[in-house]
């Protein structure tokens, strides 16, 4: 079995999570529990999910991420996905995936800006 670490760092009012390049299903499931645990522990305003290392964004991964962002929203937090590669964006769109209204940002910097000054029209549904 592979043992892949999810990096999870608290930065001011935010929790920054970095996904490993090729996460197995167990890692993706663990990610959900880790993130919600961090929400309770650190009480951040939001969650920045950095997927710049991720090469395979399949339907299982997308489902876990949209579900997690909904759970984070239920707890009172905002999720921003950042760092998606062009090839991943092309593939995910052709596969038919949507991110169900999760905010996205090109860089971690912009994701932090977005959480600090949320745009009123771009709220999580």
């Amino acid at each position: 079995m592979t043992n892949q670490n999810i990096s999870l760092v608290k930065v001011r009012d935010t929790v920054l999570v970095t996904m490993p390049a090729d996460p197995d299903d167990v890692t993706v499931t663990t990610f959900q529990e880790d993130v919600l645990g961090a929400m309770e522990k650190y009480r951040p305003k939001g969650l920045v999910l950095d997927i710049s290392g991720v090469e395979t964004f399949d339907s299982f991964f997308a489902r876990t991420i949209t579900e997690t962002s909904r759970m984070v929203a239920m707890m009172g937090g905002q999720t921003v996905i950042t760092g998606m590669h062009p090839s991943v964006a092309i593939t995910a769109t052709q596969l038919g995936l949507t991110l169900g209204g999760i905010l996205t940002a090109l860089t971690v910097d912009r994701a932090l800006d977005l959480l600090a000054h949320p745009h009123p029209r771009r709220r999580l549904r």
Binding site: M1, T2, D22, D24, D25, V26, E55, T56, F57, D58, S59, F60, A62, R63, H85, P86, S87, V88, I90, T91, A92, Q94, L95, G96, L97
Partner: protein, 136 residues
């Protein structure tokens, strides 16, 4: 990299989905597919390998590369001895799923690849073959 013409990956656990993705990445990269096509093929393989694990419990991914009239293709075949698909047309409908999934695996994989064939018989398993041609 071992034999560059054919091989197979048994799919018996969730971790084998990762192994299948890695093998496909290596083969597609060595064939000189562009980064977007490599990502497409890996993602399609991930969906189809997960289907094998999810619906049949186990199976195998066979891969091969071949040449036809000077064009090079990567072919992936996913075989299982599971329950089979009663209605392939319905299974190809985006959003249709008999599990908790999004129902994007089969139709999505077809869009990501150039060709797809499904052979399935209720009680006799399923074989899904997909192909991607290398564009020059």
């Amino acid at each position: 990299m071992s034999d560059l013409t054919r091989g197979n990956v048994p799919i018996k656990s969730e971790n084998d989905i990762v192994v299948a993705r890695r093998v496909v990445r290596d083969v597609a990269t060595q064939l000189c597919f562009g980064v977007t096509d490599v990502t497409r093929v890996i993602t399609a393989a991930s969906e189809l390998a997960r289907n094998v694990f999810l619906y049949a419990g186990e199976g195998v991914m066979r891969w091969c590369t071949f040449d036809r009239a000077g064009a090079v293709a990567l072919e992936l075949t996913f075989e299982d001895d599971g329950a089979g698909i009663p209605d392939i047309e319905l299974a190809m409908k985006p959003g249709y799923s008999t599990s908790r999934g999004l129902g994007l695996g089969l139709p999505g994989a077809k869009r990501l690849m150039d060709e797809m064939e499904i052979h399935s018989e209720v009680g006799n398993g399923t074989t899904v073959t997909v192909r991607k041609w290398l564009r020059k």
